[in-house]
Subunit: 264 residues, 4 copies
Amino acid sequence: MLKGYTLPRTPRGTSSLVQTPPWHYVGASLAVEFEADPSVAASFLPGGLELLSGRCAVYFVEWQYASEDGEEYLDPIRSQYRETIFLLSASFEGTPVAYCPFIWVDQDVSLMRGLIQGWPKQIGSTWITRAYDLPSKATPVLGPGGKFGATLTARDRRLVEAQVTLREITETMPSPGFARAVNVRYFPELAAGKHDTPAVHELVQLKSRDVHISPIWKGNATITLFDNPYMELCDLRPVSVIAGYRFSFALTVDDLVLLRDLRG
Amino acid sequence: MLKGYTLPRTPRGTSSLVQTPPWHYVGASLAVEFEADPSVAASFLPGGLELLSGRCAVYFVEWQYASEDGEEYLDPIRSQYRETIFLLSASFEGTPVAYCPFIWVDQDVSLMRGLIQGWPKQIGSTWITRAYDLPSKATPVLGPGGKFGATLTARDRRLVEAQVTLREITETMPSPGFARAVNVRYFPELAAGKHDTPAVHELVQLKSRDVHISPIWKGNATITLFDNPYMELCDLRPVSVIAGYRFSFALTVDDLVLLRDLRG
Amino acid sequence: MLKGYTLPRTPRGTSSLVQTPPWHYVGASLAVEFEADPSVAASFLPGGLELLSGRCAVYFVEWQYASEDGEEYLDPIRSQYRETIFLLSASFEGTPVAYCPFIWVDQDVSLMRGLIQGWPKQIGSTWITRAYDLPSKATPVLGPGGKFGATLTARDRRLVEAQVTLREITETMPSPGFARAVNVRYFPELAAGKHDTPAVHELVQLKSRDVHISPIWKGNATITLFDNPYMELCDLRPVSVIAGYRFSFALTVDDLVLLRDLRG
Amino acid sequence: MLKGYTLPRTPRGTSSLVQTPPWHYVGASLAVEFEADPSVAASFLPGGLELLSGRCAVYFVEWQYASEDGEEYLDPIRSQYRETIFLLSASFEGTPVAYCPFIWVDQDVSLMRGLIQGWPKQIGSTWITRAYDLPSKATPVLGPGGKFGATLTARDRRLVEAQVTLREITETMPSPGFARAVNVRYFPELAAGKHDTPAVHELVQLKSRDVHISPIWKGNATITLFDNPYMELCDLRPVSVIAGYRFSFALTVDDLVLLRDLRG
């Protein structure tokens, strides 16, 4: 009897790349809201979703993770990773949702947890300014005038640069926000003749619980999406930038809801 | 209409992590055959497979890849990766097959192609001695007396060290060989109550075509599997080492055969 | 006229790996004090230093850096790095100092700044638990009972694991501390016959200014130094562990003092 | 008595980042010759060198290294690295030489050996197409029509892309070639007031022995140097591209010649 929530499944089940949910997360994020061309944004949506507006958000997050009893953060290479998430503003049967066209992480464990949730994860290198609570030219203040930057690079090409200058505390999270994410779970077939008929193709609503949010700093932002010969991310280039944010949050994931089977 | 063989699926379909098969591979490998404790080896087999013997093989491979028209090797970070593959000797309904309990690669594109084929891939760092056809103390000869090494490290822990000293040309590939690999395709559910009932759980027979093999060098070998607090690989520790090999090979993959649905 | 504080020196001087001092640093650290065999510790000291005691300390630090006008933290891959520093308790002409036998960083810019200061830097992979100020199973508390871990790996071999459980605030920094570091600047010759007579071989006292320290948390600790075929670090294996610490600090460097020319 | 050719110097001397010469190297390279603006190229030369012509060359090399008795290639992470080298055509007292304005490697051991030779090394990520001697869409032929690519990325920004299509065997190495390299050894002071007066500042002639060259394939080439906010490499942008090359070579280094002390 092999055990394990994912491959590799083994006699004792301790080797599995991803542990059985619940999955506990805490992260520090830099976020930028911007407007993309609505017709372009709409072209990235899967069946079942309608475009709500051209408003997009990108989140750069420095995460720490633990399974239920794992204390993975004591061997932190098993726990920490950085992520860049793009979200579009969509609706499902009239309800506003967020849809993720692109996401990059820097650890395989996170990539696999993401695929199971329908996040279209790839490996990429995210860097985010940190704030230290000491006076130094080497750190911005987490307060008015504090400047933060973030970059994303994948397969040795820089894809994104962003910068945020904080101004004030706000009560409002950036929008679209990933608490409302609707994803596509997708697992292809390899058997000849079936390359276009995936084994799994589902529109799903993510669920999270035990959500906690730090104070939310807001300010001005800039963002650049660089040309790339393959990656269609640059098609979502901003027509205007709305605002930037800095905040932390925690959440737990162990469930999702199937909205629609998209096969055939 | 979103396009792409895998996530992310996009309007033009050029952003997909994995391109539609066929997938063309060429690799240079160092391999070691060894005997593990048969009762331990048997405990790693999935339903449907029987142990044939305690004979195992590990392959360290330096790969280059291209899709049908992709010439990915001209932007080689998209094409090259290194891999460590362990194989056990099993049988399916009386036919000898190879089963992979553990495999590590160093690129996300390869990890995703692997999951689709049922390889239980994780990210790991593989290093393999190269042979250059010039007289130098910096290279072994690809011939009698040439010494080659390989190592595997994952999540900052070294897992495997191997060394091979070449002696002679042979006509015989190492065994078990991955031309006969039988894998488990596995994609879990996240919806509450379904964590133990995967969406996909299939025993599959890999198929490859257009296989080409270089001359095969054979010799003596040593191999060490290091203790690890999570990874059950060390349970397959050799009771004896049989032989080592150095050779290159090419193959194309665009099909597989479903042997058995393992759900329920 | 080429410009630049280090190679590469170029027409405009913006390409130089290291910018002209001052160098501003801020870091979050996990530290462990331990006792090594005094006769072994003494054997690691350079000419001019005497052993004070067998007391050692290791610091794992997550740094952010900026040059005088650089704001490198806005392109954070230019600014952030992680470091593991070992220190021995020594004295120079009767004054207590700290001497660093081994240190690892993960960015070339830091490696080069280090060589100029006499830190014997190599590239290594350091991971350190982070504390987030939110309730989550994914983070320890920065307070009584909070558990933190750190690891160091170099050339794909794990060298160090440490763990600290916080108990109380203290007024006292760990000892030996790197404010008192005495280093050896060393730059060899390559000309034949001169391989043993370096161009630079100096005992130097580091200087730092604008030092700021956060509250210092103290508690119990464990540490393991793993065997390694080349790296003599494991000879400093603890005979006892004294305490663990968690704190942040900031400092600026733009000077040092030559204590003694060690050539000839 | 501490031992070691470089820091860290230790009781047994086995921990030193770089081993005592001789250093044995073997490498497979892709090279491109091009013409830069001569006045720009001249502005990159150090004191003592005159510009010979605007002809430049870039070499992308996949190296394997060993010290005299080290067999480092059996633990290949200690031996293998990839490098991108730019060379300008200069003369010293009427003799043609090559001068390197920029060079990137991906291992600290190579970076340190380089600094000792006066190579202005930084860490960067180089990728180079490989040729396998098997029929496959995943590899070019090492022969007429074979297409090879190479890329360089540093600090998450792509700096260079090159492509070479082979046409014929030639007897002539690309020019400028690094057998004739003249470098600047440079080690700064950190003591206040001395930031502009380095401890070491020497014009040196590299020496190599036991040089072996494979057959040299030549053909057409393209090369792109990307804009970068700091790195002046893009100022050397080609005005025309001359030719591309593919070949391997071996050499041993254990000496150099001081041409001129550039201090004061």
